[in-house]
Amino acid sequence: MTDVLTPPATVSPSLSDPARAVRRKAVLRWIAVHALGVAAALFFVLPFVFVLFTSLMSDNQALTRALWPHPFVWHNYVTVFRTPGFLTWWKNSLIYAGAGTALTVVSSIPVAYALAKFRFRGRNLSLMMVVATMMLPPQVIVVPMYLFWANQLHLTGTLWPLIIPMAFGDAFTIFLLRQFLVTIPNEYVDAARVDGCGELRTLLRVVLPMAKPAVAAVALFQFFYCWNDYFGPQIYASENPAAWTLSYGLESFKGAHQTSWNLTMAATMLVMAPVIIVFFFAQKAFVEGVTLTGVKG
């Protein structure tokens, strides 16, 4: 191969060969790296493609080994939407994710601000407690919580046990916001205080406008968390199908359509779609947020 690529040595080889060798090496490396990149991209993208194509197949074709839908049965998506309950689950997911996100962000901002910018005794301890609760599996406290919501408040079978706790700050959100807020120089905060701003006004007028990217990131994280949540709805809402969310309902959809992989994959696409659409609109904020969780530490 080297012989084919090397032109006849009409020019002095001592001058041009080293430079050409370096360039050839760079080209080969470019090809190797990008071939690997394409292989990896196939691993990540092909599952989506298979799911999408299967979701457009007819009942019979979905059971064959065909990869390309023939004909395209767009009607599968109509069928999914017409499945009893599907629209309700969709609506419940939106309520849970929408209200949950709004409440979490509003209740977590002041806590994160205090942990980042106030000086008080027990601040480090509080922060460590936030991190500790953030790392806990939700299953640790679920038994008494269930008894609390079921026996004291009689609210199981509704979305309330999922939404109400969000009004009292979320450890992960507080931690992430706090990580961002400590990077805002104290001079801004002090200047606002000298100008006679109270703490609340300092937070709302001076600090928050600077923290917009971080707030956007935690809002996205929380929206995705609620949308994806399976354990919460399984525990608190499962007894009443009218309170199911998409993540929980998808599974029973599969149960009702045992052999219809095409319909199940259409429903799966519809559960994935909102998250992916939101991501494309807010990609930058999201990637920034992921970086914030680990590296900024």
Partner: protein
């Protein structure tokens, strides 16, 4: 300034602090401290959720350790997941992170493609993989058959169910990719140049420049991976339900861990004991074991100075 006004000012600022922290103080007390204490209490009680709880001594604890058939399999599975799933995820995440920093053409497109699966809702992603890896009609086994490779039973075979879950976890590598990518870009360029001048090859540069620089991030990825394994719930339970075919059918109760307890994890035991067997006491024992494990690894994470918590002013 007189001492009185100083004290008044201090009291005022304490009140302001308390006001700002109020949502979390309430949330922490009601949704964490109270249920945790309550969990400890119930772990020593016999309680089926209907009749009043009665004192049960340490019998729940001995039941979990000696008689409950799911405990040891779940613990073994957790160790498997820590050893295999966490390790492969860190290695693969680092590899993809390295790859994306080397890609010079279409970087944004590649990055999005690598990142997107991480966002797929766990239930939907598991459902997709249950279809892809379906032993009979799934495209993956069709392809394996075409090139003459054995076709495993994946989620239906006890010795392949955890590898299948690992594959699913590798698909969603996006979080680690972003973290490693940022860490790799932070390695000082001069160190690479110096190493190259000293005649270091690519492997030596990786071994003696890259790795020492990113080792805190590798550590972070390992420990958070272990903590995530303690919370590993949705994927194994959905995979088990879909593969066994027992879902959504009223009256038919799903025994977690299908096939043959191979996908049992500790969080599933809380659900199984507390919400399927109505054995609140033993469920709380598992919850406390989970609590101890998660806390131990979190302490490990926080002990490294500057590892997780950025210093304040």
């Amino acid at each position: 300034m007189t001492p009185l006004t100083l004290r008044a000012k201090r009291r005022r600022s304490a009140l302001v602090t308390l006001g700002f922290l109020a949502p979390w103080i309430i949330g922490f007390s009601v949704f964490f401290a109270y249920p945790l204490i309550s969990t400890v209490y119930f772990s020593f009680m016999h309680y089926d959720g209907f009749r009043p709880p009665t004192w049960n001594g340490t019998r729940n604890w001995s039941y979990v350790f000696t008689q409950y058939p799911f405990f040891w399999p779940a613990l073994r599975n957790t160790m498997w997941l820590v050893l295999v799933m966490v390790t492969t995820r860190v290695v693969f995440g680092l590899g993809i992170g390295l790859l994306i920093t080397k890609i010079k053409t279409g970087t944004g497109l590649f990055r999005t493609a690598f990142y997107l699966p991480y966002l797929a809702p766990p239930v939907a992603a598991t459902m997709a993989f249950a279809f892809l890896l379906n032993p009979g009609t799934g495209p993956v086994n069709h392809l394996l058959g075409d090139i003459g490779l054995p076709q495993p039973g994946w989620f239906n075979d006890p010795s392949w169910s955890k590898p299948a879950l690992t594959l699913l976890a590798l698909w969603g590598i996006g979080d680690l990719m972003v973290i490693f990518m940022a860490a790799l870009l932070d390695v000082p360029k001069e160190q690479y140049e110096a190493a190259e001048l000293d005649g270091a090859g690519p492997w030596q540069r990786f071994r003696f420049v890259t790795l020492p620089n990113i080792s805190p991030i590798v550590m972070f990825a390992v420990v958070t991976g272990v903590i995530q394994t303690m919370q590993y719930y949705t994927q194994p339970i959905v995979a088990g339900k879909v593969a066994s075919g027992i879902i959504g059918n009223a009256g038919q109760q799903f025994e977690p861990g299908y096939p043959e307890k191979s996908t049992l994890t500790l969080p599933q035991l809380v659900y199984n004991l507390g919400f399927q067997r109505f054995d609140t006491g033993s469920a709380c024992v598992i919850a406390l074991i989970l609590f101890a494990l998660a806390m131990a690894f979190t302490a490990l994470l926080m002990r490294r100075r500057g590892g997780l918590i950025q210093a304040g002013d």
